[in-house]
């Protein structure tokens, strides 16, 4: 019975993820396309819930929906001709891109079916235990990757500022320290 419910949940979550994803790529209106990502990302959060990774369910909502999708929406609203795009939706390389993606899909399907999957045997524990374990692992076993993540974030931060500041009209691109950022 529970396995049955699990299957139902899996299938409906898949639908919730894939149908909006199709809308994202097929809608011509860019802002609508961005908006369709919302149910799609909620579907992904649902998969985490199904895997009982409770911390990641809410991080998915907090980061992907609450932050990254907001960023994407801002970017879309910055775009010109957002409501009635005049360009074609596909480009000249569409066929080749399709072929390459198709091959990639076949390859990954092949790998997936060949892999000897082992069922999960240990229960991940409740959300609190998971979070504590994650927090401990971050500062002990995975301390180096953790600090590396900080460097990555720092790089992203500085790059964002450099790019955004260099997009100013030339007069404004001279920083307070007289440094010209090549506008």
């Amino acid at each position: 019975m529970t396995a049955h419910l699990g299957t139902i949940a899996f299938v409906s979550l898949t639908a919730l993820t894939i149908l909006p994803a199709i809308m994202v790529v097929s809608t011509r209106n860019l802002v609508h396309a961005g908006f369709w990502m919302l149910p799609c990302l909620i579907g992904v959060a649902g998969f985490y819930a199904l895997l009982e990774a409770h911390f990641f369910v809410v991080v998915q909502i907090l980061i992907y929906i609450g932050a990254i999708l907001v960023l994407i929406m801002f970017a879309l609203m910055l775009t010109r001709d957002v409501m009635d795009p005049k360009e074609r939706q596909t480009n000249a390389m569409g066929v080749w891109a399709g072929v390459i993606c198709g091959l990639g899909l076949l390859a990954s399907a092949h790998m997936l079916f060949r892999h000897p999957w082992v069922g999960v045997t240990s229960h991940p524990g409740d959300a609190h235990a998971q979070t504590v374990a994650l927090g401990k692992a971050l500062v002990t076993r995975y301390a180096l990757p953790f600090e590396a993540a900080s460097v990555l974030l720092l790089a992203a931060l500085i790059a964002a500022i450099v790019i955004a500041k260099s997009m100013r009209p030339p007069a404004a691109s001279v920083g307070c320290d007289g440094e010209v950022s090549g506008g």
Partner: protein, 378 residues
């Protein structure tokens, strides 16, 4: 407080408690608009030394009902060049987060007399989630969509500018909000709202606001400022700065669609106050254990009302921020203060208890283990 286990037909008190909590919170959120508009206008009248509502019913008590009926009968104008689907969806999306967050707020806990001299703990909460406080933040971050989509779909320059301003404001202060919340998590070692309250049991000296002094106070201040900004209320009500942007992202909204935006704002005020009480003011914990004979939910409601009064008080006292001041305050003052306070507090508390930190003082005995009886498996 021990109460008898009353039974309702086949169900006993323990079984119906989550539904009672759910009903109470839903009623609170949905009735927030009529009750709070009245409360706000009366309080503002008091502060401004004028009469306030006094025409409809005694002390203007029926005014919100009259307003509600009026809104139902107002013509709904759907401007000709809006993006219709999103225009309708936006108010619904803005109403959702406070409604869902209502299910997470714990209102009190009791010991239920199960008969035969046995008692068991019972928490009055609809859904006790172990990562509950993160859910509250996640839901708060969804509120941005109501603003962005409402403002963008209106196809009005005022609306769009209002939406952009308010969403940039919301995300900026969301950072300060989550860093403020982190301090409470750090002090209570839990992300469950129930356990955060239980870790503060024992009167005002145990509440998080006075914990790790002075950092608890600093973080509570950061949370309070960020919560006012998140709910777009004065002095951070720039999205609806009527002297600059007409009504911001709500400009093209009328009738019930406007009312729903309005409701979501007040619901967010209520939820923000409830979360503040849970995080900083000990939830349902009485100010001193001596006063424990007053039921917990009453304490909770009293504290929430006090904070809502503070919301109104701030609105009537402070002038509106200018937009550049607002962004500078959020990013250059609030954010560093919150981060530095957090790091110092962690260092302080770790130094006090870390056995390897030289002092060799045995760690303080842990606070009594939270009562987990009513907790769901998640």
């Amino acid at each position: 407080m021990t109460i008898p286990n009353i039974s309702f037909g086949p169900f006993d008190l323990v079984a119906v408690a989550p539904y009672v909590a759910l009903g109470l919170m839903l009623a609170t959120v949905l009735l927030a608009v009529p009750v709070l508009t009245w409360f706000e206008r009366v309080t503002l009248g008091l502060i401004h030394d004028r009469l306030g509502p006094n025409r409809v019913g005694p002390r203007g008590l029926l005014q919100p009902i009259a307003d509600g009926i009026k809104l139902f009968f107002k013509e709904d104008i759907l401007p000709s060049n809006v993006d219709r689907r999103i225009f309708y969806l936006a108010p619904a999306i803005s109403m959702m987060p406070p409604l869902v967050a209502a299910a997470l707020i714990p209102l009190g806990d009791f010991r239920v007399d199960m008969g035969g001299g046995q008692t068991r703990p019972l928490t009055l909460v609809a859904a006790d989630i172990n990562v509950g406080i993160l859910w509250v933040l996640g839901l708060a971050s969804l509120q941005v969509y109501g603003l962005i989509l409402g403002g963008w779909s209106s196809n009005n320059k005022y609306s769009l500018l209002g939406a952009l301003r308010s969403s940039a404001q919301a995300i900026s202060y969301e950072l300060a909000l989550s860093l403020g919340v982190l301090m409470a998590v750090l002090m209570s070692h839990s992300m469950s709202l129930v356990q955060i309250v239980q870790s503060q049991t024992g009167g005002i000296m145990h509440w998080n606001i006075l914990g790790l002094f002075p950092f608890g106070l600093v973080a509570a201040g950061v949370y309070a400022i960020a919560a006012v900004a998140e709910t777009n209320r004065a002095p951070f009500d720039l999205p609806e700065a009527e002297s600059e942007l007409v009504a911001g992202y709500q400009t093209e909204y009328s009738s019930m669609k406007f009312a729903i935006f309005f409701m979501s704002e007040y619901a967010a005020v209520v939820i923000g106050s409830c979360v503040a009480v849970v995080l900083w003011l000990g939830g349902w914990d009485p100010i001193h254990p001596v006063l424990g004979f007053i039921p917990g939910p009453l304490w909770f409601a009293g504290k929430v009302l006090l904070l809502i009064f503070a919301f109104v008080w701030v609105r009537s006292t402070l002038p509106r921020f200018r937009y550049d001041q607002l962004m500078r305050f959020g990013w250059m003052r609030l954010l560093p203060v919150a981060l530095v306070a957090l790091m110092l507090a962690a260092a302080m508390s770790a130094y006090r208890t870390d056995p390897s930190a030289g002092s060799r003082i045995p760690p303080k005995p842990e606070k009594p283990k939270p009562l987990m009886g009513g907790t769901q498996s998640l």
